[in-house]
Symmetry: C2
Subunit: 337 residues, 2 copies
DNA sequence: CTGAAAGCGCTTACAG
DNA sequence: CTGAAAGCGCTTACAG
């Protein structure tokens, strides 16, 4: 007994194939008697509706495509898990495609995804070519960029308020009395990297401070470690480093300790994201939290809304985060919040 | 222009719909002239074959279902990424279902998966009811348990040689001169937790040593931390702790440090997995490596083989790992490898 | 409420 | 090599 079909169930239950279909279609009408007979027969045969056939005729696959570049940064597995849970609760599932972090790579993968007739696409930490963005729109499949902004492509974006957040993190450092503040920035090829750097610069300018150093850490642990070593090895070293994300900040802390410097004491380190590891004692990282839960909710809201509405339009959502105080950075006198 | 179909391409190219299909079906025959006309028309229209329709008629969806319980333990995101990459290279994709770590929860999710006509299922770190295992077999869909063994259910298993590995890790500790060795075990409801504990016990017995303590850490960070505090707070404390996996070992190290103990100096800590974080300086964890790459390869081999073969049978693969020496545990004199 | 029938977009024998 | 036709397993008007 390989695949059981609705026709077989119908035969056994003594009803038409349409009746079986109705029993398994939410909202369709069937008498209590029919429902009972069909459910009974279905159970005996071990029948489940074929989701693929259903998708073909209804035009809705209830599959959402997720494109991710790398899961090394703990922020993404966390987001993936939340996304999957929330989507499952709504009867959707995630078809996962890993992609190289290049526009061509992502484009190829998104095309594949479109072939699967996904109802929507979430692209995490990657960008699409504008050509592909147009194709997706033509195919009427909603795309939302998660944790990445891309203006003008007609795509929806969900990010935290990166510029604000970075500004506030930097202000925290300034108020803490630091005045040799360096920034190991997020990848400048990504909106998050640029926006956070802009926020840093804004706060420094407002305080009349020049950055001690400002380099691109590429969202890479080894690169960030190397940057930290360079910055903190000279005759004069910074008294604080604002790092473009937690993943790099962990590397920076490791590098600093390797130099004999104690974060939170000799030098302050602040990250961005607040991944679970940031709270672990080994790092105890002060960081600006990106509210993953709310980012996930917003992403799903947009998707669901666009799937339902005939005339979808791109939305840009920025969610405010908050600074989480821990031990890796000196806390200003009387600092609240 | 919403969805472009093969019929539209056929009309434009001046050939039959079947011809279009053949051009896009690997291995089907079409003249160079036809191929050219069709490709041209397809490009103009932005046509891609509908994978769902293809799956329906061919009976192969080229989708593999992945069931995961939790992504907190870094071992799983790493495995997920490798799995996805390797599968993509073969033209398959991962439909991800998150499941509560209970048999009922997993069963429900696997049923959903079967509804999607997946070509195979990978269940990572979860178990299936034997009832469901039978249903999967009846439906002829191969299931492989990743990092979990379950005998007698007729399912394939891929694990590392957990018992051996744990024995070797424990022997390493014994040869290092430790004699008050505790074990904070992996969850005893899981084969990995039990097998590693068995390996620990085996080595201890062989050396004529009684465990200083042996408790179930449930693969949970907070539980493991609490265990470590209890074990290391008395008047006599262990000189070594073998921990059931890295994820717990990080918590154990944090707890120990909180007690003023320095891992690798005052007390040795050995983990199991060798996740990337184990190599980071903040933990510098000596651990027994589970070869993820080879586990992934084996998983995919089994799946591909069973998808192709008419009469598939369950396979059980155990892959040998190796001890990775770092700073969290004292190294025996003259220890090699 | 229910059944017969059309159709979703493909692949694949079957003739030619 | 190529086209006409059947069929994959469903949902959904359409009559009754």
């Amino acid at each position: 007994m390989n695949k059981v079909t609705s026709a077989e169930v119908a035969a056994r239950a003594g009803v038409s194939q349409s009746a079986v279909s109705r029993v398994f279609t939410p909202g369709a009408s069937a008498s209590a008697k029919t429902v009972k007979k069909v459910k009974q027969a279905a159970k005996e045969l071990g029948y489940r509706p074929n989701s693929l056939a259903r998708a073909m005729v209804s035009g809705k696959s209830r599959i959402i495509g997720l494109v991710v570049a790398y899961l090394e940064n703990q922020f993404y597995p966390v987001a993936l898990e939340r996304l999957s849970n929330a989507l499952q609760a709504k009867g959707y599932h995630l078809l996962v495609f890993t992609a190289p972090n290049s526009t061509e790579g992502v484009d190829k993968v998104v095309e594949d995804l479109m072939g699967y007739q996904v109802d929507g696409i979430i692209a995490a930490s990657v960008s699409l070519s504008s050509d592909l963005a147009e194709r997706a729109q033509a195919a009427e499949i909603p795309v939302v960029l998660f944790n990445r902004a891309q203006k003008g492509a007609g795509l929806s974006n969900v990010t935290s308020a990166n510029r604000n957040g970075a500004r506030r993190a930097t202000e925290f450092l300034i108020e803490g009395g630091h005045n040799r503040i360096a920034h190991i920035a997020g990848w400048q090829g990504a909106s998050t990297g640029r926006d956070r750097q802009a926020g840093f610069t804004e706060a420094m300018d407002a305080a009349g401070l020049a950055p001690f150093a400002m380099v691109d850490g590429m969202y890479s642990r080894p690169v960030a470690m190397e940057c930290a070593r360079q910055i903190a090895s000279g005759s004069q070293i910074p008294d604080a480093i604002f790092v473009g994300n937690d993943h790099m900040a962990f590397g920076v802390i490791d590098a600093l300790r390797g130099l004999g410097l104690i974060p939170g004491q000799d030098i302050s380190v602040v990250g961005y994201d607040d991944v679970p590891l940031a709270a672990w004692e080994a790092y105890d990282l002060t960081t600006f939290r990106q509210p993953v839960n709310r980012m996930v909710e917003a992403t799903i809201d947009i998707l669901m809304h666009q799937i339902d509405s005939a005339e979808p339009h791109a939305e840009t959502i920025e969610i405010e985060g908050k600074l989480i105080l821990r031990g890796s950075a000196r806390i200003p006198q009387g600092w609240t919040t």
